[in-house]
Point group: C2
Chain length 187, copies 2
């Protein structure tokens, strides 16, 4: 079984995107050398990236651009090269390099992906997908970077999970830019 | 000026209370000896505790009881002895030991309290009060214990702040029970 990890930036009020669906509030501090090295290392595993339609569209419009290459060259190269999956019932094609479009039932598709051989898989953003998979115990690790900001409104990746989800803290690391990396496992 | 601290347990989805207003999800792990010692030490400063009406009612119905004395004797003794303030336009009296009822404008009352001499002040719970005071830069430190649980619904203490609040990480400490203490200062 391939493990499935979630990696998201989270505000102090628990949001992975703001009320407009943006993640730009997470950018300050990304130029901290120690933090940048951590992100580059953490995203270099060679695994498959999984997205919902909304996060896919946002990522596909950013990472292949010269701006991304200028600001975060190591991450951009890794993101563009990585094998990617987007789950959508409405998209007709997925043109970002190395992307598979899966249109079937989310839980079935993820169970099939997990049964394949190869390195692990990682969900970025994609709150509605995280909430559905979390509720069915299909996520093997929750990685969060707690950013030192409160927004007042936004979306949680655990929005409306049907029951409280108790996790086990597995790793933690604090950075000089004020970001705190926390990793949790299912109990 | 007396400093004003906020101390709250926060879920991984950013809530300080669940959808029913309860904080019982934060109890697992409180019997961890290292964590219990931290909480007892952290609550022993002798400062004034500040509450909104809802949190006051919940605390006043718990801490003076034999159950509280049995489960967390050091904290219960400290909570009952501490000088307390409740802000409310509707309460007519506050009968929990050593409590002052303040019925005036919240910002005015807090500015007057901060100008008094004495040890610091601490807000527990009281989300609507935190959001109002945060928006007016009247909070000097935000202490949060991140509990290893997601609820799916609840209330954030930063709900509807009028602008994003960027903070500076000041302290962090991880406990074996999976709770993570984070302290932030205004920027």
């Amino acid at each position: 079984m391939r493990p499935l990890i979630v990696f998201n930036h989270i505000t102090l009020d628990g949001y992975f995107v703001d009320a407009q669906g943006a993640m730009s509030w997470a950018q300050p501090g990304n130029d901290d050398p120690e933090y940048a090295a951590f992100v580059a290392e953490n995203s270099s595993g060679g695994g498959t990236l999984l997205f919902g339609r909304v996060t896919y569209a946002m990522m596909a419009s950013y990472w292949p651009t010269p701006i991304a290459d200028q600001h975060m060259p190591v991450v951009a190269k890794s993101m563009n090269a990585a094998p990617k999956v987007v789950f959508s019932h409405t998209l007709n094609e997925a043109t970002w390099n190395n992307t598979r479009l899966l249109k079937g039932d989310l839980l079935d598709e993820v169970r099939k992906l997990k049964a394949e051989s190869g390195p692990g898989m990682c969900i970025l953003g994609s709150g509605s997908i995280v909430a559905q998979l979390a509720a069915h115990n299909l996520i093997d690790e929750y990685q969060m970077v707690i950013d030192p900001i409160a927004l007042g409104s936004g979306r949680s990746m655990f929005h409306c999970i049907p029951a409280p989800l108790r996790l086990k803290l597995s790793k933690s690391r604090t950075f000089k830019n004020g970001k705190v990396f926390l990793s949790y496992l299912p109990t």
